[in-house]
Symmetry: C2
Subunit: 245 residues, 2 copies
């Protein structure tokens, strides 16, 4: 049994305003929860089916039945466990002045942001800088799509103009009409900017971009664009493979 | 007004068995419909809001109001147009014996398949070979995610053992523990195999793979895997950029 007030609290966390009000977010699935338990995130409470109770050692664990789990889950097919975690308070933001950093200019789709966070984890990008209009990284669909990578990537929301004021690294931006990435010499330390799904990089942010790059199509030019997450995958991979050479 | 029987028919097309029974599938959104109209696909009927009627020239166009559109749409926020297209009958399958071909071994997520079809279009891969258990390419979520690319990529469902019997090209498969793709000499003409989201490439298909490849992680090895569509993006891009050199 989960108290009605608790059901109400947890389901409210689907919305950003309640996540911010309570400072909490939801993670579903044993694997994702275990990954976050290894990170800087602090868990508030964990609900788990009795047969999976031994998967966890935390004192904050409560057994739950399928029916109650359904009531608090955001998924069509609930996983075996659901946890509520605390949203960490951002301390002072000191961005590293080396390495590869990724900036998102208004990426709106939760699946795209989740996939990009997972890619950052894969490619060792520890800081992901997002414009304030980028979808919230504690959105349940984002958390689900990160597959546990959220604990290893610092996602920061900041006015991008402020960010670029502090930044001294060369800035590369993905544009449909940019220079093919293979024709550019890529530095090891750089900022890569990806834009919104429909509109690309905004005019204000474009002014900060020194190198307009693109991914060459092959054969006839037919497809109009690549999805921002798949384009990001190719660009991050290319920076990691060629950067600094 | 759309007749009740027509509403019933269209909404039934969310399910594969009714798509196969009627030989029909649904495309939503002006852009996606226009792209398919340029392809080999034949449209059966188009419903469009009156203010967007001039976007189309087809005689098969019927005006529709917002309310009726809502009744036949699969989307939470219906687009301005919805069309029913005929599923083409596959003729004899003659696979090209050159170029880059992509094989999917039980990719199940509609968003992933849609993204992969869009990537095939971008990278000039005209034939996509899918195991029979791979999600149906006429699933509305797949069609939506292809963003119109479905008309330019031939998606074939075929027993992969039969496919490999006919094939003479070298076969590359994506594995977590494969050789880093940059350490392999990549031919221009090849088959690239991507596996299921959870289980990767099946044992039966693995036997057909001569070159086990992977995408190197950067920094600490932390992330467990890449999403199949983003991994596919990186591998297709690398084959196109390096293949044959």
């Amino acid at each position: 049994m989960v108290a009605k007030s608790q059901i109400k609290l947890i389901t409210s966390l689907a919305q950003k305003k309640y996540r911010q009000q309570h400072g909490l977010f939801v993670v579903e699935g044993i694997k994702g929860i275990k990954e976050l338990l290894k990170s800087r995130f602090k868990m508030q409470i964990l609900y788990v089916l009795s047969e999976n109770k031994n998967d966890f050692e935390s004192e904050k664990t409560e057994e739950i039945d399928q029916n109650s789990l359904k009531k608090i889950s955001f998924l069509k097919s609930p996983q075996k466990a659901l946890a509520v975690f605390k949203i960490p308070q951002d301390g002072e933001i000191n961005f590293p002045d080396s390495g590869l950093q990724l900036v998102l200019d208004d990426v709106r789709d939760p699946g795209n942001l989740g996939t990009i966070i997972r890619l950052c984890d894969w490619f060792g990008i520890t800081d992901l800088i997002c414009s304030p209009q980028t979808v919230d990284c504690y959105n349940p669909k984002v958390v689900q799509a990160t597959m546990g990578s959220l604990g290893r990537v610092n996602v920061r929301y900041i006015d991008l103009e402020l960010f670029f004021e502090q930044n001294k690294l060369p800035v590369f931006g993905a544009f449909m009409d940019g220079i093919p990435i293979y024709d550019e010499k890529l530095p090891e330390n750089a900022i890569l900017v990806l834009g919104n799904e429909g509109n690309g990089i905004s005019e204000a942010v474009e002014k900060q971009v020194q190198h307009r790059i693109s991914i060459p199509q092959f054969g006839n030019v037919t497809a109009e664009s690549l999805n921002v997450a798949t384009a990001g995958a190719i660009l991050m991979n290319t920076f990691r493979e060629r950067g600094g050479r």
